[in-house]
Symmetry: C2
Subunit: 227 residues, 2 copies
């Protein structure tokens, strides 16, 4: 425990166009603080010695720096420029990882990350090498095939995937040396392409991704109700 | 159009235990009116001549009657006692359907039903016999197999199913004469067991199901922002 290094790569990728807003969603305010800062604080609270790496789109690197300096001046954060794809952005973030240990890869647009989820992911990755937080679905789910037919899926077997997707460095670093392919929709799929089986751990229904204005209001309510 | 009959079977099934509340969720207030009344009004607004059937659990029939008389006294609603399963509740509701036409089957816990969704379902069912409202997912999705392995699903092919699931009477009435089986997770699966292919139509991300307290607050925000 004393020798391993812990990293959080927080990916601020979105352009926020779905928010009907020119401010990228990770910079919008939630309880008086930009969305991005909430997960920075959550990781720092979980592990004092954590190395935090924020990946921001090229045009937003300066804003990210200003925001982090203003709101969380005492937390040392490495800011890295993102790429054209999620894969490239994470890969750029992982270039700042230098040592053996655990890497959390987290969406900056998920500010409601709880200490419990961080701990479950950490312990899962320590034990099995990978830990992908997932939650069950409440609605019925169907799959559409190439002919437009639809097939009901067993709801009990369907999981919605969240972040932080968490890995041992020995697993995640070689995985991101692979050539990009369009099947890489998240970090778990990148790791699986190496032949590594990923492990799901229990996520949190409140760990929502801010994708539209109502989500931000909902996040505010969830935060207030947890105080 | 003049001769066909239109029915809405609104199923108030839940016990509301997930709400941490003794009041069933369909009776909780949203903008000063019980959740149940919102969809009653939405259907009435869409079709003046509609026949509305509310299915309530045995213990809640009296409450449903009182609520409907108090809040929507001018709308004629048939109240039917539900059964032990969703299938049996819907079947009881369909017993009050007598004539050829279109039947909407709707969750009472989805108060944010828009006129656009009602119209798309109606037109879809008129044209093809079935219309199941569905929306796309924003998160990554995985399927867990019997060995605990997980498989990423192509997010573009996964649909979250909503209500009102809408059918021509010639399709839905015979389907509910079948013996119940545990694969009947919604009305679409019942119809499919007869060999009928169901058709998806575009739902609405705001057409949420109230399953926890935060959903009710979110519903309130969505309603206010649409006024």
């Amino acid at each position: 425990m004393n020798n391993i290094k812990i990293y959080a790569v927080i990916v601020a990728g979105g352009k926020g166009t779905r928010m009907g807003n020119k401010i990228p969603k990770q910079f919008l305010h939630l309880m008086g603080m930009p969305v991005l800062c909430h997960s920075v604080l959550a990781f720092k609270h979980a592990f004092k010695q954590i190395n935090i790496i924020v990946v921001a789109p090229k045009d937003d690197v300066d804003s990210a720096e200003t925001i982090l300096k203003s709101y969380v001046p005492k937390i040392n954060v490495t800011i890295v420029t993102g790429g054209d794809t999620r894969f490239q952005s994470v890969k750029n973030g992982l270039n700042a990882v230098n040592g053996n240990g655990i890497v959390f890869i987290h969406d900056a647009a998920r500010p409601l990350l709880s200490q419990e989820v961080i701990q479950r992911c950490f312990e899962g990755a320590m034990e099995n090498g990978t830990a992908i937080p997932a939650v069950s679905v409440v609605d019925s789910i169907r799959m559409v095939d190439d002919n437009g037919n639809t097939l009901p899926l067993n709801r009990d077997k369907v999981k919605i995937i969240q972040t932080p997707q968490t890995f041992r460095t020995e697993i995640i670093l070689p995985a991101f040396k692979q050539e990009y392919n369009s099947g890489f929709t998240d970090e778990a799929t990148v790791v699986e392409a190496m032949g590594t089986k990923v492990q799901l751990v229990e996520g949190d229904i409140d760990n929502i991704k801010i994708t539209n204005p109502a989500d931000l209001i909902l996040a505010d309510i969830i935060l207030k109700s947890s105080m």
